[in-house]
Structure formats: C-alpha cells, structure tokens
C-alpha cells in the first residue's frame, strides 16, 4: 500500500503550488517542451541587433497610447462650434475631428502628453525601422535564407509610413489638411485613372465628409492589424532562422553563440523596453510635437509658411519641391509628370529596388549559399557603396523638403538651394558610391595587411650589422580568424558568346551581362590573404623582428615601446 502511495505523493510534492495550471497545460499541449526549447533559444548580442527592438517597442507604445486617444477622438467631419478651453479658437466652426483633438489636448487629463507620446513614438518607430533596415542591409543579413524576412520587413516599413501618414491626417488641422490635399494631388497625377481614384477614395470632391471616418478605420484597425500580423510573421521567421551573428572565434555558419532567452536576454530586452518607453515619455513631456491648436482647423483658403509633412514623407515632399514643371497633354488627358514622378513613381521605385536587391545580388554574384554569419560592410564594397549612394539620394531629397527652413535659418537664397539640389541629387549619389567603395577597399587592404604582417608597433631595432627594421606584433589567432572569416569573392567568368560551331550559346547574352555586372560588383574587392601567404610572412619575420603574438587586441605601445594590451 505504501509503495503505491509514494509516487502519488512524490508527484504532488514536485508539482508545488504553481504546477497545477502549468502541468494541466503541459498534459494537453505539451507546453513544457515548446517552452523549454524556446527558453533556451540563443540570441547573440551586439548593439546593432537592438535596433529592430526599438521599432518593436515603439510599436507597442503606439498601440497603448493610441488606444487611450481613441477613447476621446471623434472621427467625424461634421461641423460644430468650438466651445472648449483654448480661447483663440473659441466660437470657430470646425470639424468634430479637430475639436476632439483640441479637447484631448486641453480638456482631457493627460491627453496632451498622450498625444505627444503617440506622435513621438510614431517618429521613433519609423526612424528605428529605417535604421534597422540599414543595419540588415549593410551586414548582408538579408541573404539566403532570410530574403523572405527582408520582404516582410519592407512590407512593415511601407505600412508604417501609411499608418503614420493616416495618423497625421486625422486631426483635420491646417497642416494635415494641406498634407491630404497633396496626397489627393498625387492620386490625381496618376495618368488617366487618377481623377477616378481620387473621387473613389474621398467619396467625391476633396475633401468631402467621408474621408476622416474612412481614414480612421484604416488607422486604428486595418493597418495596425496587418502590421501586427506581419510583425508576428517577422518574429516567427526570426526564431525559425535563428539570429545571424558576427564572425568570431567559435562562431560558424552552423551555430549561434550568445545568451539564452531566459534569463539573460529576456532581462536585457525587458530592460530595454523600459528605456524606449522612458525616452518616448520624456520626449512627450519635454518637446512639443504637432501643436495643432496653432495651425487651426483646415481651411483651404489659409496656408502657412513651414508646412511640411512628418519626416518620413519629407523626401517625397522634397522631390516634389525640386522637380521642374513638366506636364503634357495627349488627347484629352493631362499627364502631370511634375507630380507623378516625384510623388508616386519615386516611392514605387525605392521599394522596387529594395525588394529586388537581395535577388539581384544573388544573381550577379552567383552566391546562393546559406549565410548565418554577417559581413562587415567593408567586405562587400559594392553593396556598401550602393547603400551609401541610396542614403545620399534620400538625404538630399529630404533636405529639399526643408529648403524653406534652410533658406531662412542659414540666410541662403531659396531658388539657389533648389537649383543646387537639382544637380546634387544626381551627382551626389555617384560621388558617394565611388568614395565609399574606395574607402571599403582601402579598409579591406588594411585588414589583409594586418593579418599577414601584424600590427606595426613603431619599435625600430637595429641589428648588429646595422640594418634597421620595424618590429611587428602578430595578431592573436582569434583576431586573425575574425578578420579573415569572410569568403573570397570572384567575378563570374565571361562565357563564350557562341560555341565553336558559331551557334549562339543559350542564355549567352544574359550570361554576358551577368559576367560584366559581376566584374563590376566584386572585381575590385581586395581579397583576404591565403593561408600560404600568412605562413610565409610569419616564417619571414620569425627570426628577429616579430613580437610574441598578442593574446588580445593590440592597443598601441607605451613610451617605452612595450605593447599595451587590453
């Protein structure tokens, strides 16, 4: 009897007070195995891997603060007379949407703080996504097998922009109305169908009475819903692929070195969440953002100097500002290229390029292998140069969007800035490309040099027969490994255009193009030294002028010529 009781008692003891529900769940869905496996999931850490988290956390802040706002916001364009507590607008006719925004700002406790937190979080969300995307781009994290997650990420960025623009337009103040008017202009500039699209979206002539309610549904339900779903997919894919890591001793394409999710990584990530929340809340408390009360309700007869969209739309506004007036008519249709190209085509172009890039790179380099190790930007000079060119073009367009502010603040001529930017926007990216690639190749050369010869110590010795030489400090094996963990690159050879019978090779043309592109892509890279080169160099130096290998990073020498070590 006692023998049969023992196991039962034992089980009861081990379960403890908390085990009830968990054991219950475990029995039914095998929770323990799933959780155990995922709690042990390893995350490498590096500051740049936290950029995506900033985006994630600001999205959570957006959901929380947005929910607060939706309790008071009235998405209606019905005209009412304002009788709230902001005096300079007392008795003015305005839409309910604008009036309720004023109420949130002045008559709801904590409302203005929440509005500002929401808006700053939106700005941080987009800024973080952009920086995160750049880190993924410059480190080659989008390479196989993560192309799909790159595309999901692009979807997130696009939706984030749409979500932000929708939010910016909701309060129906003078700036958001001006922004919507521009958006309507962009729609209309789409050849032939533009006018129909605009009438369809606004439910008639701009602005109509339908648009704010429609926008509201998109802003609080549709877009956040899709965002949430895509973020989930993004995270699932991340866990499935495992995170990439930087090359280093013990880190290979087949493992992940880092901390387990629990407790270290979760503690760090949780802590970081509060930091992001704290920074957003501080900004919301200290800096004014979108003070709608000074702009007043939307009134098409009023304009104000300094009308600008939020920053993520700034580059399109900038393109619009510097585009020369180019418009033509075919039959009865007006083609407003002056609006269509900067306003609509450019956005499409950017996302097409970004979406196609991983696949184009794969095709050109012929690299279809799986990659879990990141690349230092210098080890992919052409990619890094493309990135720099893209940032330059984007930045210049962005600057164009603030051309009036720059003109007044720096006392420059507005027209002159515009003309200059028209030229720079084409020349700048080319210069950036060339310069960046040179710098990258230079850095590659320096790395190779250090791997072969070690660090220069600046210690000059004189041998008994009078020969001067500089002593070199060879790298520790760990450092040498880190510096040479990347692959060599080789341009694809040019295939013969036709075989010896003069028959054109199948795909010959395409392959020719690919060969040429590939030479352009990787042909200039400086290759890491071969093992033989390193061995030979060591043998050469071994006799007298080489110091003991540094265990850790070389930190220069002190006044006595003794190498410092960290």
């Amino acid at each position: 009897m006692s023998q049969t009781e023992a196991p039962a008692r034992k089980g009861g003891l081990a379960a403890g007070p908390l085990a009830g529900p968990t054991a219950w769940l475990d029995d039914r869905v095998g929770l323990a195995t799933i959780v155990k496996k995922n709690l042990r999931k390893v995350f490498p850490d590096h500051w740049s891997f936290l950029l995506g988290e900033i985006a994630l956390y600001s999205f959570i802040i957006l959901l929380l603060s947005g929910t607060f706002l939706s309790v008071w916001f009235k998405p209606s364009m019905a005209e009412i007379i304002y009788t709230g507590s902001y005096d300079p607008l007392y008795g003015i006719e305005m839409s309910e949407a604008y009036a309720s925004t004023l109420d949130i700002s002045f008559d709801v406790r904590g409302g203005l703080l929440m509005r500002q937190i929401h808006h700053w979080a939106a700005a941080l969300f987009l800024a973080a996504m952009m920086v995160h995307m750049l880190r993924v781009f410059f480190t080659g994290a989008y390479r196989k097998p993560r192309e799909l997650n790159w595309l999901v990420g692009l979807g997130l960025l696009q939706l984030g922009i749409i979500e932000g623009f929708a939010g910016y337009s909701l309060p129906d103040d003078l700036l958001s109305g001006t922004g919507l008017r521009i958006a309507e202009g962009l729609m209309r500039s789409i050849p032939i169908v533009g006018t129909y699209i605009s009438f369809f979206v606004f439910g008639g002539e701009f602005p109509g009475n339908e648009f704010i309610p429609r926008l509201y549904v998109a802003h609080v339900l549709l877009v956040p819903g899709i965002l949430l779903a895509l973020i989930t997919l993004h995270m699932v894919l991340l866990v499935y692929h495992k995170h990439t890591q930087w090359p280093g001793p013990g880190r290979t394409n087949n493992n992940v070195v880092g901390y387990p999710l629990l407790p270290v990584y979760a503690a760090k990530a949780g802590g970081f969440f509060f930091v992001v929340f704290g920074v957003t809340a501080l900004m919301g408390a200290l800096f004014q953002i979108n003070p709608v009360w000074v702009f007043g309700p939307y009134n098409p007869s009023q304009v104000t100097a300094g009308s600008q969209p939020d920053f993520y739309m700034g580059w399109l506004d900038g393109a619009l500002r510097i585009m020369p007036a180019w418009e033509f008519t075919i039959l009865d249709w007006t083609f407003s290229m002056n609006v269509f190209i900067p306003g609509v085509a450019l956005m499409g172009l950017l996302f097409t390029i970004l979406g196609a890039y991983p696949f184009v790179e794969q095709w050109v380099t012929g690299d279809r292998r799986v990659h879990h190790l990141l690349q230092r930007p210098r080890n992919a000079p052409t990619r890094t140069a493309f990135g720099a060119a893209g940032i330059t073009a984007y930045g210049l367009l962005w600057i164009s969007g603030g051309n009036d502010i720059i003109a007044t603040q720096f006392q420059l001529d507005f027209y002159w800035i515009t003309r200059l930017l028209r030229v720079l926007v084409f020349v700048g990216p080319v210069l950036a490309f060339v310069a960046t690639r040179r710098v990258c190749i230079g850095l590659q050369r320096k790395d190779a040099e250090v791997v072969v010869h070690g660090f220069e110590t600046g210690i000059i010795t004189r041998s008994p027969d009078g020969e001067y030489s500089e002593r070199h400090l060879p790298l520790s094996p760990a450092e040498a490994w880190t510096l040479s963990a990347h692959d060599r690159t080789e341009p694809a050879g040019l295939p013969a255009a036709s075989d010896h019978n003069g028959v054109a090779a199948p795909h010959g043309r395409v392959e020719q193009v690919r060969g040429r592109l590939s030479r352009f892509w990787v042909g200039h890279d400086h290759q890491k030294p071969t093992a033989d080169e390193v061995r030979e160099a060591h043998e050469h130096h071994a006799d007298d002028d080489e110091l003991e290998p540094a265990e850790q990073q070389f930190g220069g020498v002190n006044e006595l010529g003794v190498p410092r070590r960290h």
Partner: protein, 273 residues
Amino acid sequence: MRSLSTHRRHPLAGVLVLLLGLVVLGGLYSVLAPRSAEADSTDEALIDDGRQLFLVGCASCHGLNADGIEQQDGGQYGPSLVGVGAAAVDFQVGTGRMPLAQNSQQAPEKAVIYTDDETAALATYVASLSPGPAIPTEEDYDASDASREEVVEGRETWLTNCSACHNSVGAGGALGDGRYAPPVLGTDPKYVYEAMLTGPQSMPVFNDALLDPEEKRTIIAYLETLEAEPQYGGAGLGGFGPVTEGLAAWLVGMGALVAVATWIGATAVRARQ
C-alpha cells in the same frame, strides 16, 4: 463698437468704407498740404533738424531731396521717399533697418542708431515732402484690452493674410531670392501696425481698405496672445513644424536609444571576457 463691426458685413459696407476713406484722405490732405507752407515754428524746426540728419545719414542713397538715386554700377541705390510717409520712416529707422549698412537682398534689422527724437525729426522731414501714412497713435495699436472675440477674429485675419509668409506662429518663412519674412513675435505693436501700413520691402501694403484699423488691431491682439501663451506640451522647437520635429526624433530620440543599445552591447562583450 459691436454693432459697427456687424454692419461691416452689409453689402454697402465696402462702398461706405471706401467713401469714408476718401473723405478722411481728402480731409487729411487739405489739412496737411497747406500746413507745410505755413507750419508753425516748432514743426519747422523739427523738419529742419530732420533735413540735416537726412543729409548726413540718408542722402547718399536716397538723394539730397529724398527723391531717390538710381545708379546701376555704383551700387548706391535708394528709392524715392516722397510720399512714403512718417510711418515708413519710423518703422525703417525705429527697427534699425535704415540706414542700410550694405546692399543686400533685404534690409535686415539691426541696432537702432538714432534716438527717438532724431527718428521723429527724420519722419517729420520725410512727411513734409508729401503726405503719406502717419505714425499710428497708441490708440490705434494698443490691443491690451482686446476681448476673446477680437483675438479669435485676429487669428482668422492673421491666417488669411499673413501666415503664408510669416508662418502660423509668426516664426517667419523663406521668400524667393534670399528674401525672407522675419519672425514677428516680440515686435513692438507700433511696428507691427506700421509694417502693415507701409509694406516694407517684399511685404505687401495692407492699407485701410484691405484691413481696416480695427482688423489691424485684432491681429496685434492675436500676436500678443500667442506671445503670452505658455508653450503647451513642452519646448516649441522654434515653431518650424515637422522639420525640427523630425530632427529631434533622430538626434534626441534615436541618439539616446542607440547610445543605450551600444552600452548594452558593450557591457555584454566585457562580461564575456
């Protein structure tokens, strides 16, 4: 007062205002024009002082008789001041715009170099050449007792007429060719009134037919309200709108967060060693 401003909406109000304006102008002219011939001695003395000051400080550009110099190559150029009125001189000299230091796109504000008396003398002298808008009296521009309705009205008038150049919070804005509309918050109400009256440089003239004195006063009332208004919600970032907000998001927000991220990453590396 209220009934007057409601009647202004009447279809005949425009005609009435025009007629009134003409009568006042005619009246003013008939009072002023003969005066310059038989002005009393103190006025005469003031005009004389003004002329002396003018010959020293202004004539090099505006001509000995204030009728302007147009000289393409020398670079010395000043428009005729005949008929610009005392208000223009008071504004230009009182805000330090005149005398112009160098030929630039726009006469910038700088330190005022004439005393109030000297400015008055200059103004009287220029006004004596030919009548123009007179310096407004305190009654015209004093808006300290403006009612809430007047402030609301002033806001509307401001947004309809001025904010296109001066920005909704009066922070200023860019115009073409290196010209700019300066910030107006903090400008003495008298100069705000005179600016509207005389339209300095690229600014249009808002004479009494465009904006009657009452409307001008409400604009001043609104600007004073804006100035006195606390910065709801924190530092205003210069009132430039989304451009400075975007900068702050990147530099302050992302700057701080990336710094923290770097710190988190760095401490991990050290722990590992």
